[in-house]
């Protein structure tokens, strides 16, 4: 077996074993931390499709993360207020059902990614980075100044949304749900990378001119990947909002975009389990460094600098070797 496959199995089982052990020892806080890792890793899996497979350095994925979060709040908030979601042109009630919310979040995220991607992909390179960052910031300011959904204060959801057959308020059951979604997304990502579409995407990333000569339009292939990426990140946003039972514009802020990117790069760009490793390491660092200094992000910054300058390929690249393309 390849070393990376072993490492992936260790990561997948480890992320499952830690909360189970914590549950057995009566440590619900660690279960919640593991849930956070799973959800943030899911956001990273989304970004990794754009960044790793498609070579699109999006610094605006907080937009989709936030769209997912707000989709959850917009659907669930009317229920707790005993109001309909909308009355015109037809009456529609809100919902507290997670599957419905997930579909809505993914559709909203996909539409957002379609609009932002269609404009941003007219350019490339450093322009693309700046433009995705700018559009993310646009949604952030919009969320702050639009009073209907809480403005700067955000919206609290008092009871976590429900999933048929599960008690989502029980930390371990909510973890199981998040973990299941993460594994499903990893499966999608794995299949996608090996499909004809994934190969076309890799071609568009490596040599757009040659792809075009083969009859593959790099723009449409990249845009499709960007939309899938946005939808998965939006799903993560909906779950994250459910974890905290709260959404606020900070989900849309540029720091969130930066952090999602950090998960991916910390773990290893274009590696299947890169975002899982990255999110786990990030949360561990946050928890561990945060324990002895209020200024833990200073040390995080120094650690990140060291990783970029000296340990290229991220955690998985360091542990499992550099090769990635020839499999």
């Amino acid at each position: 077996m390849r070393r990376e496959t072993v490492l992936n199995a260790v990561l997948a089982l480890g992320l499952l074993a830690v909360p189970l052990a914590a549950q057995a020892m009566g440590e619900p806080f660690i279960v919640t931390l593991a849930t956070k890792v799973a959800i943030l890793a899911l956001a990273g899996v989304g970004l990794n499709i754009a960044l790793g497979l498609g070579g699109m350095v999006s610094l605006g994925h907080a937009a989709f993360f936030g769209i997912g979060g707000y989709a959850m709040a917009v659907l669930a908030a009317p229920v707790q207020a005993y109001e309909p979601l909308m009355t015109w042109p037809f009456e529609l009630a809100g919902t507290k059902s997670m599957p419905v919310i997930w579909v809505a979040a993914m559709v909203a995220g996909a539409l957002g990614a379609l609009a932002i991607g269609a404009l941003s992909l007219r350019t490339s390179g450093v322009y693309f980075i700046m433009i995705t960052l700018a559009f993310g910031q646009m949604l952030y300011y919009f969320a702050i100044s639009w009073p209907a959904y809480g403005g700067e204060d955000g919206i609290s959801i008092y009871v976590r949304n429900g999933f048929p057959g599960l008690n989502t308020l029980d930390p371990i059951q909510f973890f199981a749900l998040s973990y299941g979604v993460l594994m499903a997304a990893l499966m999608v990502s794995w299949v996608l990378a090996r499909s004809g579409f994934g190969l076309a995407l890799a071609g568009a990333r490596q040599n757009p001119v040659r792809s075009a000569a083969l009859g593959i339009r790099p723009y449409s292939v990249k845009l499709t990947a960007f939309v899938i990426s946005g939808a998965i990140t939006a799903l993560a946003g909906a779950l994250f909002a459910d974890l905290n039972r709260f959404v606020s514009p900070s989900m849309l802020s540029w720091q969130t975009s930066g952090e999602i990117m950090v998960f991916v790069i910390l773990g290893g760009v274009a590696r299947l389990f890169g975002p899982v490793a990255g999110a786990a390491l990030f949360i561990l660092l946050e928890h561990w460094l945060g324990g002895f200094s209020e200024y833990w992000k200073l040390f995080l910054g120094l650690a990140l600098l060291g990783i970029v300058l000296f340990a290229r390929g991220g955690l998985i690249g360091t542990l499992a070797g550099r090769e990635v393309a020839h499999d």
Partner: protein
Amino acid sequence: MSLMLLIEQALNGLQYGVMLFLMAAGLTLVFGVMGLINLAHGSLYMIGAFACAAVAAATGNFWLGLAASLAAAAAAGALMELTVIRRLYARDHLDQVLATFALILVFSEGTRWAFGSFPLYLDIPRALAGPVRLPGGIDYPLYRLVLIGVGLAVAAGLFWLIGRTRLGIRIRAGEADREMIGALGVDISRLYTIVFALGAALAGLAGALVGALQSVQVGMGEPVLILAFVVIVIGGIGSIKGALVGAILVGMTDTLGRFLLPIAFSTFMERSQATSVGAALASMLIYILMALVLVVRPGGLFGRA
């Protein structure tokens, strides 16, 4: 009366624009010459503001603070270039983004550690406080008028520097072909440090000047940085002229949009609703402007592409 208000807002937009130009000019120079995207440029803006506020508070003299802000930002920029940035020139944009993102964390948390989480306040120097009467009977704050003057003077100085001096020739040559000017005997790494420190000093100057209008706090740089990106995208990367036009366009659009849109909406909407819808739309206006420029000219107004 309404016209006077409009002129006042237009001046505010111009002032905002020229301050954005100071940020965007450094970014676009660094990108044009070194091909580097620097997210930590906002940190240099913050360092300038903090240096000015701290020195002005200690000495009671704004001008010493201003000098300190230039020195501190240029020194921080040069240090940043020598220790981290020069390792990134040969890397792809992804590594540059991550490394400079890490630098933001280091600078922001370092500043929080040194100065605490509470904002500092920087007073407008006494000689420049108060309003001045403009022709037409408009009272306008003198300090903002001076900012417009300083910004335009810096822009003129920059055009002179790039277009007329030996350093400017080297900078332009470096944009065109870095290997060739190296072969011709120009010390490229020193040139890069100088360009980076120059951009840093401009950002620090902007931070100090704007710091007297707003509060000086950790995280003040990044929103301005993102606006400077919008400016560069509109103006075209690497073009100083584009940065100036883009900055004034963004400053004007934002300020006038916030002023005019609620008024425009109130002609057919209830007042409170018009205010909130107008404000929300105004906050998106510059990004819509950016999207329009992208559709018409993907390389920016003055871009080469």
